[in-house]
Symmetry: C2
């Protein structure tokens, strides 16, 4: 029987279409592991070592001394202009803000052919550290209201660049979607005195059927109303509004969890294209006690079609409980 479920945090409705349900195995994207066929160094790749002069001057790199392992650079084709002052314009019903903001790229490794699942935990830790440093810098920019950090892996996820990288965008407005989530969380906090995300986490722990993995500081689960197959949320257990509040110990743990989770995708779903996004309280909020940061992982194994575009609802042809069970059982080498 199909079922329509509401995500308790986003209030999004999803049709869990069991009649068209596929077995988790049916979503495997590729049968081979393509990374192994790629060279470790590609002379024409602007992100490979030796081509540093082909990118705009770097913002910073880690480690701070010696050879870079993670490198943050402005996006050569930036969607926003970092050197502009904020300016807005109204004309009748039409509003616009000039494109002042930040759009940077985080090059995540020196090696052209490495994907996160195959990196060392130390490397992933350094990537997260670069994320944290730059997230914090952009949040402090007076013009910026919202910071979005995301990774696109593979053409279905919106990138044709193979060399592992993420992007960070600081926007001078808050989108309606994010505003809506903040309002929902804030209302819940006002009404119950509790964090909606913490309560959702307790709920999921009690139920257990959608948990993918759990460590000392993190818990990964497939939401009750997951928008698509294997869509996974990763919550820090400690209540904190902003990603930038993460401690060193939590960062250590996050590196382990991200390697394991992306390893489950890599081995279990055969290196699917994927996105992930760090969702943190908007930069514009001074004291967002009601918010709780988390990371969304989205393997791109299905396509959005007219129904999704037209209704804002999703049809998920998989059962979250079955997908979670499948991922729990994937052994990472």
């Amino acid at each position: 029987m199909p079922q329509i479920r509401q995500n308790p945090v986003t209030k999004e409705w999803v049709i869990i279409a069991t009649e068209r349900a596929k077995r988790p195995e049916d979503f495997k994207d590729r049968l081979e592991e393509p990374e192994r066929k790629l060279p470790e160094h590609e002379p024409n790749c602007p992100f490979c070592p030796g081509n540093e002069d082909k990118t705009p001057p770097q913002v910073f790199a880690l480690p701070q001394e010696g050879e870079w392992q993670v490198r943050v650079i402005p996006n050569k084709f930036a969607a926003l202009n970092r050197n502009e002052n904020l300016d807005q314009h109204c004309e009748g019903l039409r509003w616009s803000v000039n494109g002042a903001g930040i759009h940077d790229v985080i090059i995540e490794t020196r090696k052209h052919n490495l994907t996160t699942a195959l990196m060392s935990t130390e490397q992933i830790r350094m990537i997260i550290e670069a994320y944290r440093i730059h997230f914090d810098q952009i949040t402090k920019d007076e013009r910026i209201q919202m910071v979005v950090l995301f990774k696109n892996h593979g053409p279905s996820a919106g990138t044709s660049l193979i060399h592992s990288h993420s992007q960070i965008i600081g926007v001078p407005i808050v989108s309606g979607d994010i505003l809506q989530r903040v309002i929902t969380a804030s209302r819940h906090y006002e009404e119950t005195g509790k964090c909606l995300f913490c309560q959702n986490m307790e709920d999921e722990k009690k139920d257990g059927s959608r948990i993918v993995m759990e460590t000392k500081h993190f818990i990964a689960f497939i939401p009750y109303a997951a928008l698509s197959p294997f869509h996974t949320w990763l919550y820090p257990k400690r209540h904190m509004a902003r990603f930038t509040e993460i401690t060193n110990k939590e960062t250590d743990d996050l590196a382990v969890v991200m390697k394991a989770l992306l390893g489950k995708f890599y081995y279990g779903l055969k290196d699917p294209d994927f996105n992930y996004v760090i969702r943190s309280a908007p930069a514009t909020l001074k004291r967002p006690e009601h918010f709780h940061w988390y990371i969304t992982f989205i393997p791109r194994v299905t396509k959005t079609a007219g129904f999704e575009l037209g209704s804002g609802m999703f049809i998920n042809p998989s059962l979250p409980e079955k997908s979670a069970e499948f991922l729990r059982n994937v052994r990472v080498k």
Copy 2:
């Protein structure tokens, strides 16, 4: 200079990224016109004449007598169950409704290889008539709160079935996105006594730079804050909340406009994959004076990536004014 624009109707913000802007010509999907290579009849296609017994029993067909030209059938892999009564379930924070609803397919032609742009105006008129009849039937179903009618054309738009068809889904809830639009329009109506859509249309007519085409009863334009390149809205000029209020004369005109508009995509963008969606006032509203139905056309020439998934905002690498100019100038054979 990049610019961030707000859609006056949906209040969605879009980054118009002129730095990465492409010329309209760069979005051409294919260089050849693939339809011509396909057979007019495909023995294994369940939508082709002669295979009527391979689909679930038909709901209705047009014309009412003689050989069908448009055929409405239940979706064989329906996302919702038409024979179920409504039932809901709450558990802690988790809400669900059982999957009671309608999910039907409109087979738009007897010919396997025909795409809307190449059909006769009479055929398109009959398709719209089938849309109207079935939209009305589903709207009257006591269980249904929202009806979504959409077409997926091509793999990037979410279908692998070549035979021209659309889908109609009746859902027993209203999605957050649609609710938000209804609230926005209703607030505008309360505050100004005017329909937000009518005012937007007047605004666009006065400006002129984003108009793609205009007829007696319809106007097609690229929204000021279009989410993606060539994203086009088609408004009926007469204020009406529901698609089902369309008159015979307006239907005649709509057939002409749809053929011309999809022809502009077909010849100008070389048969891109696309979706379209009819957006009508939710079935649940009894007197939605403040709403105004319209059709959204979305050529799938770009991909949504992590930023869009994470922020609900879009980056559009094209200037709406330039895209509109390009489409205005495409000559349809």
